[in-house]
C-alpha cells in the first residue's frame, strides 16, 4: 500500500511526541529521586553514570513507625482512600441502580444536583468544615477527611455507574422479578454480578480522586494522625536545616505514583471506558 509508509512514519512521530509529552516529567522525578546530595543540583536530566543511590528512599522509612516522616502519612493515605472509596461505591451503586432501573420522581433532580456538586468549589467549604470539625472532634481524624471525599467523589461515581448500569440487559432483572424475586433480590442476584466490572472501574476513578486530594488534607489535618502523603509532602523538611529535602520529596512522590502506574498499566481500557462512559450522548 502506497499510503502505508508515509502514514506509518507520521504516526510514529505522533506516537513518540505523545510518549515524551506524557512521560518526561515522570522520568524526571524518578531520576531526581535517585540522585545523591552532591549530584542533586548538577542539572542533568538523568543521574550521571554510577552516581545514583537509593538513599532518598531509605531515609523515608528510617526511624521505624514512630519517627519516619513518611510511614504514617502513607498508611493514612491508603486507609483513607480505601475506606472512602468503599463507602462511596456502595452509596453510589444504590443510587445509580435506582436511577438506571427504577421509575420514580426526582431522578433528574438527583442527577442535576450531582452535576452541580461536581462543579462546586471545594475551597468554599473549608472554612465551615474547619470550624465544624474542630467543634465536633472530627478535625485531624480519618472520618474528617473521609466525609468530604465521599461528598465530592459521589457525583463521579454516580455518573460513571449510571452509564454502565444503563447498558446492563434490563430483561434479566424483569424475568427474575416475574419469577417472584423482589426488586432487592433482583438487584443482588442478577444485576450485581453483571455490574461488577463497571463498579470496579468506578472504584478505581474514586480511589484516584481521593488519593489525589490536597486541599482537604492540608486544611482538615494538623498531624500524622490523619495527614495524607500529598499534605505531608508539602510540609517535608530536610534532615537538618542545611539540607534541602529535594531528593526525599522526589522519592516520596515516586512512591505515591506507583499505585497510579499500576492502575494505568493493568486497567487502561477500563479507566478510559469509565471516563468516557456517557460523556456525550451521541
Amino acid at each position: 500500500m502506497r499510503r502505508g509508509t508515509r502514514e506509518y512514519g507520521a504516526w510514529s512521530i505522533g506516537l513518540l511526541l505523545v510518549l515524551v509529552f506524557a512521560l518526561l516529567p515522570v522520568v524526571w522525578i524518578i531520576s531526581l529521586s535517585l540522585k545523591t546530595p552532591t549530584t542533586v543540583g548538577d542539572g542533568r536530566f538523568l543521574p550521571a553514570g554510577g552516581q545514583w543511590t537509593l538513599d532518598n528512599y531509605k531515609v523515608l522509612f528510617e526511624g521505624g513507625f514512630d519517627n519516619s516522616p513518611f510511614i504514617h502519612p502513607l498508611i493514612n493515605s491508603i486507609a483513607i482512600a480505601l475506606i472512602a472509596t468503599a463507602i462511596a461505591i456502595v452509596l453510589a451503586a444504590f443510587a445509580a441502580y435506582a436511577i438506571a432501573r427504577l421509575n420514580f420522581p426526582g431522578k433528574g433532580l438527583i442527577l442535576g444536583g450531582a452535576l452541580a456538586i461536581a462543579m462546586f468549589p471545594a475551597i468554599s467549604t473549608i472554612g465551615p468544615l474547619f470550624d465544624m470539625w474542630r467543634s465536633i472532634g472530627l478535625y485531624d481524624t480519618y472520618l474528617g477527611l473521609i466525609i468530604p471525599y465521599l461528598t465530592f467523589s459521589l457525583p463521579l461515581a454516580i455518573y460513571t455507574l449510571v452509564a454502565f448500569y444503563r447498558e446492563i440487559p434490563w430483561d434479566l432483572e424483569q424475568a427474575a422479578q416475574v419469577d417472584g424475586a423482589t426488586p432487592f433480590q433482583a438487584f443482588r442476584r442478577v444485576i450485581l454480578p453483571l455490574a461488577a466490572p463497571g463498579t470496579f472501574t468506578a472504584a478505581i476513578l474514586v480511589f484516584i480522586f481521593c488519593w489525589n486530594d490536597f486541599l482537604f488534607a492540608i486544611t482538615l489535618t494538623s498531624s500524622n494522625n490523619a495527614r495524607t502523603v500529598p499534605a505531608a509532602l508539602a510540609f517535608f523538611t530536610g534532615e537538618s536545616q542545611f539540607t534541602a529535602p529535594t531528593g526525599n520529596i522526589a522519592a516520596a512522590a515516586v512512591i505515591v505514583t506507583i499505585p497510579i502506574i499500576i492502575f494505568v498499566l493493568f486497567f487502561q481500557r477500563r479507566i478510559v471506558a469509565g471516563l468516557t462512559a456517557g460523556a456525550v450522548k451521541g
Binding site: 426526582g106 416475574v178 497510579i260 487502561q268
Partner: protein, 309 residues
C-alpha cells in the same frame, strides 16, 4: 414472549399503584444515603459560610465577635489583593484551558487514528491524568528551580534564570504544569465525542473533494461542538479552582496567588474565618456565574455533561 407479556399484564392489573408506589419508595430509599452525603459537605457548609461571612470572626481574638453585615465583602472587594488574585486566576484559567483544548484535540485525533500502539498511547496519557497533582507540581517545580532543575541547562536558556522569582515566568510554569496534568482528561472527553461521528460523512466529503483541513473544520468541529463545550465547562471550572500547583510552587509569592490560595490563607493561615468565608462565598458566586454563562450564552446542554475528576 407473548405469554410473558400476558403474565406481566396480569400482574400489573392486580396492583398497579402498589407496585409503582413500592418502586418509588425503593428508588428514594436507595438514593437517600448518597443525596445526604452529597449535601452534608456542600449545601450545609455553603449556608454556614454565608453566616460566617457576615460576622467578625478571628480565631486569634475569640472575644471580639459580632455581626458586621457586608463589611467583610466590602473589605475583600476593595482590596487590591483580591483583584490581583482574580486577574491571576482568570489568566491561568483562560490560557491553560485554551492550550488544553488545542493540545487535547490534537491528542484525541492522534488516539482516534491510531495505526499501532493504541494501548501504549492511552496508557501513557493516563499517567498525567492519574498522577497526584502535588507530585506533578513538584516535578515541574524541581525541573525549573535553578538549584535542582535541568531546564536552565538547556540551550538558549540563561543558567541562572529564577523562574519563580518573577510573577509572569512563575505563572508560566504553573500553567505548563496544569496543562500537562489535565490535557489527557480533555483529550479523553473529546475522543468520546470523536467516536460518535459517523465515518461515512468523511468518505462523502472526500468524494466531494474536501481536503483534510476542510473536513476537520466543516465536519469534525461542528459535530463535536456539544462535547467540546461540556469539556470546556468542566475544565474551566476546574482551572478556576487552581490551588495545589500554586501552593507547591510559590505559595502565592511574587503576586502569583489565585483566589483559592487567598481563601486558604485567610481561613487557615490567618484564621480569619469571617473574611475568609467572604472570599469563599465570592468564589462560589463566581463559579455559579461561569456555569450560568456556559449554559445560557454557549448553550451547553447539561444533560450531556458528566463530572470528571
Amino acid at each position: 414472549m407473548s405469554a410473558l407479556a400476558g403474565r406481566l399484564r396480569l400482574g400489573r392489573r392486580g396492583g398497579v399503584s402498589d407496585r409503582s408506589r413500592e418502586e418509588r419508595r425503593l428508588g428514594w430509599m436507595l438514593c437517600a444515603p448518597a443525596v445526604i452525603a452529597m449535601l452534608l459537605v456542600t449545601a450545609y457548609p455553603i449556608g454556614y459560610a454565608i453566616v460566617l461571612s457576615v460576622q467578625h470572626i478571628d480565631l486569634r481574638f475569640p472575644n471580639e465577635g459580632g455581626w458586621v453585615g457586608l463589611t467583610n465583602y466590602q473589605t475583600v472587594l476593595t482590596s487590591s489583593l483580591w483583584w490581583t488574585d482574580v486577574l491571576n486566576t482568570v489568566i491561568i484559567t483562560v490560557v491553560s484551558v485554551s492550550i488544553e483544548l488545542a493540545l487535547g484535540m490534537a491528542l484525541a485525533l492522534v488516539m482516534h487514528r491510531a495505526i499501532f500502539g493504541r494501548g501504549l498511547v492511552r496508557t501513557s496519557v493516563l499517567v498525567p491524568y492519574g498522577i497526584v497533582t502535588v507530585v506533578a507540581a513538584f516535578a515541574w517545580f524541581f525541573a525549573f528551580d535553578p538549584g535542582t532543575g535541568f531546564v536552565n541547562h538547556l540551550p538558549l536558556i540563561a543558567d541562572d534564570k529564577a523562574w519563580f522569582g518573577d510573577r509572569w515566568s512563575a505563572i508560566g510554569v504553573i500553567i505548563a504544569a496544569e496543562v500537562w496534568k489535565t490535557t489527557p482528561f480533555m483529550a479523553l472527553l473529546l475522543l468520546a465525542g470523536l467516536t460518535t461521528i459517523d465515518g461515512g460523512l468523511y468518505e462523502a466529503a472526500k468524494v466531494d473533494g474536501a481536503n483534510a483541513v476542510q473536513r476537520f473544520f466543516r465536519i469534525t468541529l461542528p459535530l463535536m461542538k456539544p462535547a467540546i463545550l461540556v469539556a470546556l465547562l468542566f475544565r474551566t471550572l476546574d482551572a478556576f479552582r487552581v490551588f495545589d500547583t500554586i501552593f507547591i510552587m510559590t505559595r502565592g509569592a511574587q503576586n502569583t496567588e489565585s483566589v483559592s490560595i487567598l481563601g486558604y490563607n485567610q481561613i487557615i493561615s490567618r484564621t480569619n474565618l469571617g473574611l475568609g468565608s467572604a472570599v469563599s462565598v465570592l468564589i462560589f458566586i463566581a463559579v455559579l456565574l461561569i456555569a450560568f454563562a456556559f449554559v445560557r450564552l454557549l448553550g451547553v446542554r447539561m444533560a450531556e455533561g458528566r463530572p470528571g475528576a
